[in-house]
Amino acid sequence: MTLAGDTLTISVTVNGETTELTVETRRMLSDVIRDDLGLTGTHLGCEHGVCGACTILLDGRPARSCLMLAAQADGSEITTIEGLASTDGTMHPVQQAMHDSHGFQCAFCASGFMLTTVALLAAEPKPSRERIRRELSGNLCRCTGYQSIIDGVETAVALIDTEGSDR
């Protein structure tokens, strides 16, 4: 059996926009996001599910797009890093907080960390530092030693809290 020529049509909602895509059945979701949709903010660090750089939100939950076939995403709602900031360029509070805290250096891992953080704060708006460490332990960063990223999550908590009370 040769799969090389096999294709499949799927429907996905990416950053709020619903698209139909014809993809080879063997292709990974990460490849389709990067190559077919041109959303190159999703990065590939290890392509075997350990580093977490390719993390996206799949129906609101963090998922490794390098371990999922694109076919498996049929009918789901996907958020990538490009979907976080407002259309006018205003950063999402998590992005703003990472900026304020000098969260990242080379930032190759940043999208994965920030999308994991968005999911964490949706589930637990005021996590303890220990909880933050645990939740982010599936994402690797080689530059920062993590402290500034964890500080960034704490800053995001404060920022979202202030924004909430302003409203």
Partner: protein, 853 residues
């Protein structure tokens, strides 16, 4: 963004200004090499050796060539026919550097050695076809360790070497035998460090874009050294006879003129240093390899004849830690393929390749002896170092040059009356050796480990031994026994004294005793070092006479017709936030906001030449120093013109917030655009203000210093080492951006923690690599790296430029502090830590909980 960057009136340097890089990098708008897809690009996959050591008997590519989407399958027969070998660079007396080619032709020398290149319409199809390439190998006896390499009967990795010994050099400073005979005791230990890997989160990658009209190559690459990549690709893809090169050069007058001017300027800039060079390295290379001068001449003449060098365009890079400072064989193979096919090509390495052939480092054995008196005075030091370089040296810098730095820095901040060192480099069947963040760092690990071993032998505290032997301010200026000047910037003692104020040793001892009652084992470890970043003016000549010429950094600053400030650096940022820090430095020099400064990097058409790029903690001291001086020069030009326009003396002009005015009369000021416009009005072709400055740190310089203190809490049920507290007291002089400096320190410490507790590029006894995924090569996570407590001392240097480097220091100090803390925790059980790598089983063995098998 501008809200972040209000002028404080105090200047930007010294403030934790938020990063200007973030707007693009945090929103997914970075442009990393994998994001670049020229029209019609072909995707590459390399066929790599599954054997550590074997001859290649036959390669059959016919099935691969017929596979769907495949455009070409190229082996050494095609690639090496149109390329030159990597020649020896930095040759040292007593060293042999093998010549090697982009693809292996008759023999493979490590798991992952590239033997063929497949180019197809997609990466999937290229990888499918790569599996169809049939290679017949005959396995040879592998050389799997330093011990194997030194065995006279072992199979030679490089036929022209002396066995597998590539370098053997001994140096003595002072009368080593006399000092060792006179001292009360000699304490000796054999220490060994495991093979490690840099592991940036972004793997290697290169996209070569071919202009279909002109054939010009634009090379997008994850490189730390864009200009070196450009020159190496130009040099190694120009294969032609010497006669035709000479004829072409003779015909091309522009090229001749440019070459002569360039050579004159280089000689003039580096006159003193070049005069010191000796040729003993080239002579020892020639004794082993008579062919190398022919290749060198052919390459050199080819460069003169070549009329179109590639452009290297490197933008956002996902970390490097030294690994991307080498030019890799794959880059040359890709460039050759792009030229041969006239098509753009793209290669993005996968993680398995990166762990295998993306660069290894630090596998070193060190036998260290210290001659010491009973009162703890260390008098003599002897070191026998052996580096396992694997099969291929990194290019242009292999292990030999690193041993020279290790030698100069080994005595550290202690007074020794005599020091002797033997350095050897061996070849084995392992992945190539590259620089990894503080490539010489095992001098600090071994020395600081030994200080603790000496202290324990003398029943003294490790802190007491350090303080007794460490050079203090009252003795300055003086010299390290290896040559370099020690001035007040060698502030290691100050960092140690501050560390002792920060950590309460008495409180720790009470805590240790309480923990012991609960069966927990606490320990504390110290490590002290100073690093040449950039080092005193005589530093590079102590390492290798004449190599000063390598270290100059060039920067250009301009004020454009619209008044904007643009600075051009030859640094190659890959996480260190150069764009932010250089904006800070230039903005302060010019009296503008950092939002008014644009930093240009990575584009060889626009940035000044550098032989290094980013590495060696140069970004602050040399890169920053060059930016500061070029900005200052352009300010001088601007003020001169403004003074003329304002009919005032240049001495009376000041610039505040972009307003150029006579001091005290800001209301009658001029903007940058007005002054620049006045120049372009009279001569529209003029580039209003433009200054290029070469800066090598001479006369400024100085040392970057730190003391690290690590606390450990060891669980002897599991062998897990927890680090409840980690303190760094560092002195890199005046800090440009504290948040960025702290980030560099923490990142380095995190890699040091990984090196001691988690990371090993381990090979078995047959030279098979055992760690080829992130399930085997363990990068520490948020659960393993604690918050790092950082304290700063900002010692000023006597020179004008005070910035000192901080990129590597975290990793230089950490392995020693951690291993010292572990031995301290287990000292009651008789533990002696002699390896840098201490995974849980080793911890349990050291503690006597389990027996080594």
């Amino acid at each position: 963004m501008s809200a972040d960057h209000q002028t404080s009136g105090l200047g930007f340097v010294g403030q934790s200004v938020k990063r200007v890089e973030d707007q693009r990098l945090l929103t997914g708008n970075g442009r990393y090499v994998a994001d670049i897809n020229p029209p019609g690009v072909l995707h590459a996959a390399f066929v790599r050796s599954p054997f550590p050591h074997a001859t290649i008997d036959r390669i059959n590519v016919s099935a691969a060539r017929r596979a769907p989407g495949v455009v070409a399958v190229m082996t050494a027969a095609e690639i090496n026919a149109i390329t030159n070998p990597f020649p020896p660079f930095l040759m040292l007396d007593g060293m042999y550097t093998p010549l090697f080619w982009a693809l292996s032709d008759d023999r493979v020398r490590h798991i992952g050695d590239p033997v063929a290149l497949v180019l197809a319409e997609s990466r999937h199809l290229a990888e499918d076809a790569a599996e169809l390439v049939e290679v017949d190998y005959t396995a040879l006896e592998p050389v799997a360790s330093i011990a194997d390499a030194l065995r006279p009967t072992s199979r030679q990795v490089w036929p022209k070497a002396d066995g597998n010994l590539l370098y053997d050099s001994s140096t003595e400073y002072g009368d080593v035998d006399a000092v060792f005979a006179a001292a009360d005791r000699v304490i000796t230990e054999r220490l060994s460090c495991q093979r490690q890997s840099n592991q940036p989160m972004e793997t290697r990658g290169t996209v070569i874009e071919v202009d279909p009209r002109t054939g010009h190559l634009t090379v997008h690459s994850a490189t730390q050294t864009s200009h070196v990549l450009r020159w190496v690709l130009a040099a190694l893809t120009e294969k032609r006879s010497m006669g035709s090169s000479i004829a072409a050069f003779a015909r091309n007058k522009d090229r001749r003129t440019a070459f002569i001017a360039g050579a004159r300027s280089f000689m003039a800039t580096n006159k003193d240093s070049l005069g010191n060079q000796d040729n003993s390295g080239a002579r020892s290379q020639f004794r082993k390899d008579r062919s190398f001068p022919i290749h060198m001449q052919r390459i050199g003449l080819g460069l003169l004849a070549k009329d179109d060098y590639p452009t290297v365009l490197a933008q956002d890079i996902g970390g490097g830690f030294g690994a991307k400072g080498s030019v890799h064989r794959e880059d040359v193979a890709l460039a050759a393929a792009a030229i041969a096919l006239g098509r753009s090509v793209k290669w993005i390495e996968d993680r398995v390749e990166n762990l295998t052939d993306g660069g290894h480092a630090r596998e070193e054995d060190l036998t260290v002896s210290i001659a010491v008196d009973h009162d703890g005075t260390m008098r003599g030091l002897k070191v026998d170092l052996i580096v396992d370089q694997g099969a291929y040296p990194g290019f242009p810098v292999g292990a030999g040059f690193t041993t020279q730095i290790m030698q100069v820095m080994f005595p550290g901040s202690y007074r020794f009356e005599a020091f002797g060192m033997r350095s050897r480099v061996v070849a084995t069947n392992k992945g190539k050796y590259v620089a990894y963040r503080g490539p010489w760092a095992n001098e600090t690990w071994a020395r600081e480990r030994m200080v603790d071993i000496v202290a324990r032998a003398l029943r003294m505290s490790p802190v007491e031994v350090r303080l007794r032997n460490m050079i203090g301010e009252s003795e300055m200026p003086t010299h390290m026994i290896t040559g370099p000047t020690i001035d007040e910037t060698m502030s290691v003692r100050k960092t140690l004294e501050r560390a002792l104020q920060v950590v309460d040793l008495d409180a720790f001892e009470r805590e240790r005793a309480e923990a012991a009652e609960q069966g927990r084992h606490l320990g504390i470890g110290f490590a002290c070092y100073h690093e040449a970043a950039p080092g005193p003016p005589d530093y590079m000549d102590s390492v290798n006479a004449g190599s000063d010429a390598l270290t100059a950094e060039v920067a250009r600053a301009t004020i454009e017709a619209d008044g904007s400030v643009v600075v051009y650096t030859s640094q190659m940022p890959h996480g260190q936030s150069h764009e932010t820090t250089y904006s800070q430095v230039a903005a302060d020099e010019l009296g503008v906001s950092i939002d008014d400064v644009k930093v240009v990097w990575g584009d060889t058409r626009r940035t000044p030449f550098s032989l290094i790029g980013t590495g060696g903690s140069r970004g602050g001291p040399l890169g920053g120093g060059a930016i500061k001086r070029s900005s200052r020069e352009v300010r001088r030009m601007l003020i001169e013109e403004a003074a003329r326009m304002l009919e005032a003396s240049v001495d009376d002009i000041e610039i505040v917030g972009g307003n150029i005015h006579v001091a005290g009369v800001p209301s009658r000021g001029l903007t940058f655009a007005e002054v620049a416009g006045a120049v372009t009005a009279t001569d529209p072709s003029a580039h209003p203000f433009d200054a290029t400055v070469t800066y090598n740190g001479k006369g400024d310089g100085g040392w970057s210093c730190a003391t690290h203190v690590c606390f450990v809490d060891i669980d002897l049920d599991t062998g897990k080492v927890a680090i409840p507290r980690y303190v760094v007291v560092e002195d890199c002089g005046p800090i440009i951006n504290p948040a960025i400096v702290d980030g560099q320190v923490r990142g380095g410490v995190a890699q040091g923690i990984g090196a001691v507790l988690y990371e090993s590029s381990i090979y078995d006894e047959s030279a098979n690599l055992q760690a080829t995924t992130y399930m085997d090569y363990l990068i520490p996570t948020t659960m393993e790296i604690p918050d790092i407590e950082i304290h700063h001392i900002e010692t000023l240097s006597p020179g004008e430029n005070d910035f000192r480097g901080v990129g590597e220091g975290g990793m230089i100090g950490a392995p020693a502090a951690i291993t010292n803390a572990i031995e301290d925790a287990l000292a009651g059980r008789g533990a002696r830590v002699t390896t840098q790598y201490l995974p849980p089983t080793t911890i349990l063995e050291l503690a006597g909980v389990i027996r080594p098998d």
